[in-house]
């Protein structure tokens, strides 16, 4: 039995998460793990690197039930594609402030290559296929964030087709 069989793989929560604790849990009981790669997404206060700041709040909405099913399926796909030993995804919902953590993807494997790849694969998959929606509050008011064609392109690198952003502004 691996860690993945015993621990939750997907958690949707409003509370913050502890990266170190999650990484530790991913490999503590499996001495075959030699690498853990993790990604943390945080709330930006601007749309683009050169844009002026101005986002004071970000609200995250999700589709309860479907979100968990979708991410569980992504982790199954990662296990099929990559030689990994465990994966963990935490995604926050509700109201967040700039610089707060939004999402964690962590992957454990025997060697680093598979962990790096599977971590990126899971993030690319999540960006275009998991039912979350961001709404930003700026001095001009609150606005839903547009999907990015670049995120569909990122998933295409893995041979998977996404049309999430099709028909929206680039």
């Amino acid at each position: 039995m691996t860690v993945a069989d015993r621990s939750p793989r997907v958690t949707i929560q409003s509370a913050d998460f502890d990266l170190a604790a999650e990484v530790r849990a991913l490999h503590a009981l499996d001495h075959g793990v030699g690498a853990v790669a993790s990604f943390v997404g945080t709330v930006r206060d601007r749309h683009a690197p050169d844009a002026a700041g101005g986002v004071s709040l970000m609200e995250l909405e999700h589709y309860p039930g479907m979100t968990e099913i979708a991410i569980e399926a992504m982790i199954d796909a990662a296990h099929q594609r990559f030689d990994i030993r465990a994966a963990r995804v935490i995604h926050r919902v509700g109201v967040l402030q700039p610089s707060e953590q939004i999402v964690l993807v962590a992957v454990a494997s025997a060697h680093r290559g598979m962990a790096f790849q599977a971590c990126e694969f899971l993030m690319d998959y999540l960006k275009t296929q998991a039912p979350f929606w961001k709404k930003e509050t700026t001095p001009a008011g609150a606005q839903w964030v547009d999907a990015r064609v670049a995120d569909d392109a990122a998933l295409a690198r893995w041979g998977l087709t996404a049309n999430n952003a099709a028909g929206t502004a680039p």
């Binding site: 909405e61 939004i102 999540l126 275009t128 998991a130 979350f132 929606w133 961001k134 547009d146 028909g167």
Partner: protein, 83 residues
């Protein structure tokens, strides 16, 4: 037959959290969307064919050719923006 429709994000703000509908057997997601658009008003606006709207059938991303079964849960929402 009865199906449950849910809306999320901007669609939820415009149309509410969802509704229960009575539809004919064999109805596709596309036909269901068209029927909602045909109501006019906010439905016509936010579900218009010119808008990017995604859908799920029984909590799985779906294209609109899928046929909606008895008791199904259908969801319409904007392109996703998590992560």
């Amino acid at each position: 037959m009865t199906v449950h429709v849910r809306y999320f994000a901007a669609l939820r703000e415009a149309l509410g959290a969802g509704e229960t509908l009575d539809i004919a057997p064999g109805t596709t997601l596309a036909a269901l969307r068209d029927a909602l658009v045909a109501r006019g008003g906010r439905h016509a606006e936010v579900l218009a064919r010119t808008r990017a709207v995604r859908c799920a059938l029984n909590q799985s991303m779906s294209d609109e050719t899928a046929v909606v079964g008895e008791g199904a849960e259908v969801a319409f929402f904007p392109p996703v923006t998590g992560g």
